[in-house]
Amino acid sequence: MTMSEADILATFTRILRDLLMDDGIVLKMDTRRPEVPNWDSFAYINFIVAAEGELGIRFNVAEVESFETVGDIVAAAMARLR
């Protein structure tokens, strides 16, 4: 199964909506973490854990520290799923 950028973005959106219990969340490629209410560092780690688990990939520790936008995370995931 190949996933497109849009698929991954949709998966991330669903995971974050679940984790924060907020169906109003809309993630875009240029969304930054502080722009999403309650997406604190705690929720961020849980998001990474859940995303890794669901996609079956691992992000590098360095990447997790340096992701600026949702698009950065999507790109890192795409690179591993390709």
């Binding site: 679940d18 219990m21 780690i45 849980n46 854990v49 859940a50 688990g53 669901e54 520790v61």
Partner: protein, 628 residues
């Protein structure tokens, strides 16, 4: 790396629950949902939903416990897992998580936030990382032992301080082996290898816990069983000093909540099994006892055997077993007594209910019979419809989802932690056995459609032999103490009984009755001796009141007649001498087809006679076992 799928249908179910405006109903629905969805993200969602419930409703419906987690690592990510595992058991945990590596200060310094929190339960989650870091890998055995003893002594000091300062119950987490091998397999031998250090530490911890009466949270074992990757992730350790990874929070919560529930007497007490395709393969009513899939020879048959063995093991540690099956009761019980591969015996089952009634009502009946709450039951049934019915009728009964493949039944049951224990003594199993046996007789009587069915269900076995040296004391005691079932009221000394037993012209018989509730022991004695008139007389016959109404008198007379026939005796005479206390057997001989031949010369005494050749063997539900 394998992929985790989100729990099937959970999203929709949770969203449906959240539309419920009534907090009470929403809380109940969340609790139900918590039973099925133990994953990482689902647990966080449930926790958020729980936070939206009116605290007053929580107070009313759940038992609040203030739980503090102090650790040498980061633990605040564990809180949702703790709260949801608590919810699953009807508790609400107010959770306090200490700051990273501040456990000593928080416990020992005079004013800390922990003091304001006032923990009732204190979880001490310690890592061996620091200790292992200071131990050179070439340290000798004595040095290592000394370091480890010092560590455990310090931990014990913390337990004492916790008790004194907060009056809190301590739950000590075992040390997790999250360290990479240094030597390889030789790690288990090398005194200072991390693996060896952890093993030894946990040994010492267990000893200390036993001595101090402290409960353990065995994260080390869970970690070994679930796999290190389920519990530990070096990235999370580096990123956030979490020795327990976020995806393990719900597993950790389970371990803690089980122990807290067990300490408060909320562990389950009784496992109730369905029969067909649960304890054995196949539908008994269709395939008969011979057609059941059970036992060695087929993988499926062995899977059911494994489940029975597991149930037996639980039973040995005091878990009550019961049966609740839609089946013909007679055939169902026969399967227990006759199928050679059955590991579970009648005597292991405290309450055996096989009928065609609603299972939910049968379960209520089982709980009443055993005199335990519905919330003490775990109901194990392969049929999803029955499970759904029971859950709907009685949500307090635990109804685990069974996997489709019986190969995984044991794992599913063991994994659920329904029977968590915080202690084990010999009395546990003994007490439960007696308790179960009493309840069992009651259960059997009330489920039986008739007396006949009750007796058949008892699965009785009589053993008979002459009164020998071993039986002499008990036989004499029975003769002299028995007032009700006593045909003549004669009394004999041990010597007299011994001489009758040794007399080749006499027949002494002693009877033992066993049933599936246990062995009743030596419960009846007969002495047959030549009378003055040359006939054979039933000199005395006594029977313990414990076994009245069990057809033992019929079985015993059948056996006595066999002995008489073997000796060519034509006629047996018998007397009934009223003693004022034996009226219960006033018509015993009439029932046994003796002929009345008038009074015997004593007040109210009756003389009876039996023509041995005319005797018709009386049908009973008692099997024969001959003891020579």
């Amino acid at each position: 790396m394998s992929r985790n799928s989100p729990a099937q249908g959970f999203r929709e179910r949770l969203r449906a629950v959240l539309t419920t405006h009534d907090d009470m109903a929403r809380l109940e629905a969340l609790r139900t949902l918590s039973e099925f969805t133990p994953g990482h993200v689902e647990t966080i969602q449930l926790d958020k939903a729980l936070a939206g419930i009116d605290p007053e409703v929580i107070e009313r419906r759940l038992t609040r416990v203030r739980v503090a987690v102090l650790s040498s690592c980061t633990t605040n990510h564990l809180a949702p897992g703790l709260r949801i595992a608590a919810l699953r058991r009807g508790f609400f945990f107010s959770v306090y998580t200490g700051a990273f590596a501040q456990y000593r200060q928080e416990l020992l310094e005079p004013t800390t936030p922990l003091q304001a929190f006032g923990p009732e339960v204190l979880v001490l989650s310690l890592s061996a990382r620091a200790l292992i870091g200071t131990l050179p890998v070439d340290a000798d055995r004595e040095h290592v032992e000394q370091v480890l003893q010092t560590e455990i002594a310090e931990v014990q000091g913390l337990w004492e301080a916790t008790g004194k300062r907060f009056g809190a119950v301590v739950l000590q987490q075992t040390y997790m082996d999250v360290f990479e091998p240094v030597f390889g397999s030789y790690d288990r031998i090398a005194a200072a290898s991390p693996a060896r250090v952890i093993d030894r530490l946990n040994d010492l911890l267990a000893q200390a816990a036993r001595d101090s009466g402290i409960a353990l949270i065995d994260a080390a074992r869970a970690c070994a069983r679930d796999g290190l990757e389920a519990w530990f992730d070096s990235a999370r350790w580096l990123q956030g000093k979490m020795e327990i990874a976020p995806q393990a929070a719900y597993r950790y919560g389970e371990l803690v909540a089980r122990v807290v529930a067990a300490q408060r007497g909320r562990s389950r007490k009784c496992m109730v099994f369905d029969l067909d395709n649960t304890l054995w393969g196949g539908v008994l009513g269709d395939v008969g006892i011979e057609g059941l899939v059970l036992g060695e020879g087929s993988a499926v048959g062995e899977a059911y055997l494994e489940l029975q063995r597991y149930a037996k093991r639980l039973n040995e540690r005091g878990v009550i077993l019961a049966i609740c099956s839609k089946n013909d009761p007679v055939i169902a019980e026969q399967a227990f007594s006759r199928h050679p591969e059955m590991v579970l015996k009648h005597s292991d089952i405290a309450c055996f209910v096989a009928n065609w009634h609603d299972k939910a009502e049968n379960l209520r009946h089982i709980a009443e019979t055993l005199n335990i709450g519905l919330d003490s039951l775990v109901f194990v049934d392969d049929n999803p419809a029955e499970r759904a019915r029971v859950r709907e009728a009685y949500p307090m009964i635990a109804v685990p989802e069974l996997p489709e493949d019986p190969a995984h039944y044991v794992h599913a049951l063991a994994h659920s932690g329904y029977f968590e224990a915080v202690s084990f003594t010999l009395e546990d199993s003994a007490r439960t056995a007696a308790y179960a046996a009493n309840a069992q007789r009651e259960a059997l009587r009330s489920t039986a459609q008739s007396m006949d069915e009750f007796l058949r269900g008892l699965d009785m076995e009589v053993s008979c032999g002459p009164v020998g040296r071993l039986e002499l004391d008990r036989a004499t005691q029975l003769i002299n103490k028995t007032n009700q079932f006593n045909t003549t009221g004669r009394r004999y000394s041990v010597e007299e009984v011994a001489s009758l037993a040794a007399d080749p012209d006499c027949i002494t018989l002693q009877f033992r009755l066993a049933d599936r509730l246990g062995d009743n022991g030596l419960v009846s004695v007969m002495i047959l001796r030549p009378s003055a008139a040359g006939a054979t007389e039933l000199d005395i016959w006594v029977m313990s009141c414990r076994v009245f109404g069990r057809q033992l008198e019929d079985a015993a007379m059948n056996i006595a007649v066999e002995h008489l026939q073997a000796r060519g005796v034509q006629t047996l005479s018998a007397r009934f001498v009223p003693t004022g206390r034996n009226s219960v057997i006033g018509d015993l001989f009439r029932k046994l087809s003796f002929e009345s031949i008038g009074d015997d010369g004593t007040a109210g005494g009756q003389q009876w006679q039996l023509r041995v050749s005319d005797y018709e063997v009386r049908p009973t539900h008692i099997r024969r076992r001959s003891v020579q």
